[in-house]
Amino acid sequence: MLELRDLTVKIDGHVVLKNVNLNIKQGQVHVIMGPNGAGKSSLALTIMGHPDYKVVSGDILFENESVKQLPAFERARKGLFLAFQTPPEIEGVSLTTMLRHSLKSLNKYPGYKQFMQELDKQAMLVNLSKKLLGKSLNQGFSGGEKKRSELLQLLLLNPKLAILDEIDSGLDVDALKALSNIFRARKQASRSCLIITHYSRILNYVKPDFVHVLINGEIKASGDEHLARKIEEQGFKQFLK
């Protein structure tokens, strides 16, 4: 589904990712763990196509096609999605408006009535207050509300591959349970996930196929969920040498 080949990325002339290799197959869940400043968010933004992140060597393949030259909207239309760690505030643009346009541009808009029904249903599922659906995006949203808004978008857009950047921070237990259900449903539908996280807590809610440790822009170790346990016990220091 998504393959990173020897990916090296610079921002403002500084290397933030070095020779990163990753191969996420259909229906798989991969987790990237790493300390602050390791390049986790850079990885997410690079895959999604943020213009500040320049790929200097290597490639990004999505469904066996190189997407590294494509602008973000074309990657989205192919089926990539990023749940942002800190989504921006946009005055006067509501979640409802954005999602309607987004679904239209992805050729997935089911018509107004069905869209509104679906929106209500899924908002209930992630426990996002209906009032927020019509408010300016992220303006005055709490940390948890921002995450729930990202999850709602994930549910409605239903991408082939979802990158989730620190999605669990600020979520309460109920929302984490909802998150767990989302992961399960995606697995059943053979949709892939790339979870980016600092803490291993999220692993209580999802069983990953692979765990990777990212430090200083490099993948230092890969394994299964036992690797995450090890990090929980001993921290990231063990990978520093």
């Binding site: 989205a76 990023l82 921006p88 946009i90 643009v93 408006t97 346009h101 987004s102 541009s105």
Partner: protein, 444 residues
């Protein structure tokens, strides 16, 4: 060539003023007022502030009366305006009317229908020339009382040479909620180079009035100086929407003033897109106790347009409230906010708030704020906020990551930015405005 029934010569003099007055069969008082205003015009200097205006008054033609309202053939309408009509999806018949080139057949039918309904309510709704002839005593009572020709050079000019414009009189406790704008959309008769509009709401009356149109208005004239006076009496409510989208070759001085008496409410929604240079500061005088004014404006200046716009509010009555909200989008051009809030001593417990937001789309634009606030009443409170912002790259990226192209993302951000103003517009107008923004972005 177009046949004109009457074209005044170039330059401004007493003969032209007499000619205009005679041609419209005006009563003597109007002619005398015009002549006094003309004298004042000659001795008044140009405004010492605002935009620099290199107007040669001797080169202008002040009065053109076409035989029919065929100002030009459709072929003469500039290409960019024709494209806009296409993009807005306006039908052929209507677009010719917008551009002032079409026949008036359709509009006359609608006009007749509206007229009948208005008349049964006692409402007077007619062009200004007819009003001066047929309702002279009412007109005389109000004309120039709110914005006299002594106010400034352009008010003097308008009073001297005005032609075209509207007269609306709503009797006591009459509610007019007809879609008046539909009439305007296709009847351009009311719009002239120096149009003059007078609106009177008697006690408890209500009027929802929309002026102008979202399609660009094509004009051969280089200077427009319109003047609008509105009288809103006790317990009356007036909702005014005005969209200015003149073609990009003209200087536009727009003078508008409204008076609010006890417990009256005025909502003033203003959209500015057209003109080469625009100066416009609608003014509301909150004379009555508990009177209230909302002045909301959205503008989009691009490609070297210069806007010097704002609002003025005078608080005089007790417990008066005003809110000025100005949202400006600026792209390779200049937009200034110039506003005044004045709270008189004795305007007890009054509240005034001013918020002006500018959104810059590049580094070559200029936006300044000149907010003048004078509060002479200790119990009154006035607040002012000004923000100049840019479209953040992260906002654009966020929306593009959801499948929108960069242009669609930008349009969505801009429409969001002006949404506090557009949500006060009727739905079809708001939709047209959205189309304008998208179009302006795709032309840029």
């Amino acid at each position: 060539m177009v046949d004109y029934a009457l074209i005044s010569g170039k330059g401004l003099n007493e003969n032209i003023v007499r000619q205009i007055s005679k041609d419209n069969e005006e009563p003597e008082w109007m002619l005398r007022l015009r002549l006094k205003a003309l004298k004042h015009f000659f001795k008044t200097p140009m405004p010492s502030w605002g935009l620099s205006l290199d107007i040669n008054f001797d080169e202008l033609t002040y009065y053109v009366k076409p035989t029919e309202r065929k100002a030009a053939s459709w072929d003469e309408v500039p290409e960019d305006i024709r494209k806009t009509f296409d993009a807005l999806g306006i039908p052929e018949a209507e677009r010719q009317l917008f551009a002032g080139t079409g026949a008036q057949f359709e509009s006359q039918i609608i006009y007749a229908k509206l007229k009948q309904k208005f008349e049964s309510l006692g409402v007077i709704f007619t062009d200004m020339h007819t009003a001066v002839r047929e309702h002279s005593s009412i007109v005389k009572q109000y004309f120039g009382r709110l914005l006299p020709f002594t106010n400034n050079k352009f008010a003097a000019l308008n009073t001297a040479v005005w032609s075209g414009g509207l007269f609306i009189y709503v009797p006591k406790n009459v509610v007019v909620d007809l879609p008046i704008h539909n009439y305007f959309r296709i009847n351009m008769e009311g719009i002239g180079q120096f149009e003059r509009t007078l609106i009177i709401l008697e006690e408890g009356a209500k009027l929802d009035y929309i002026e102008g149109c979202t399609a660009p208005m094509y004009s051969k004239a280089s200077l427009h100086a319109g003047l609008v006076e509105v009288f809103v009496k006790s317990n009356a409510r007036f909702h005014y929407t005005t969209i200015q989208n003149w073609s990009r070759n003209i200087y536009n001085m727009s003078m508008k003033r409204a008076l609010a008496l006890n417990n009256s409410v005025i909502t003033w929604v203003d959209g500015n897109f057209g003109s080469k240079k625009l100066m416009k500061y609608p003014c509301i005088i909150l004379k009555g106790d508990n009177s209230k004014a909302d002045l909301l404006s959205a503008s989009f200046a691009k490609n070297n347009q210069e806007f010097d716009i704002g609002a003025k509010v005078y608080h005089i009555g007790k417990n008066t409230k005003s809110r000025i909200l100005s949202k400006s989008i600026v792209k390779q051009s200049l937009t200034n906010y110039r506003g005044l809030v004045s709270i008189a001593k004795g305007s007890v417990n009054s509240r005034a708030s001013v918020v002006c937001d500018s959104l810059m789309l590049d580094n070559d634009s200029t936006s300044s704020t000149y907010p003048y606030i004078f509060n002479n009443e200790p119990s009154a409170i006035s607040t002012h906020e000004a923000r100049v912002g840019k479209v953040e790259e992260d906002q654009v990226f966020y929306l593009t990551s959801r499948g929108l192209t960069k242009k669609e993302a930008l349009a969505m951000i801009l429409l969001g930015f002006i949404s506090p103003v557009t949500k006060e517009l009727p739905l079809d107008f708001a939709l047209e405005l959205n189309k304008i923004i998208r179009l302006e972005l795709s032309n840029a």
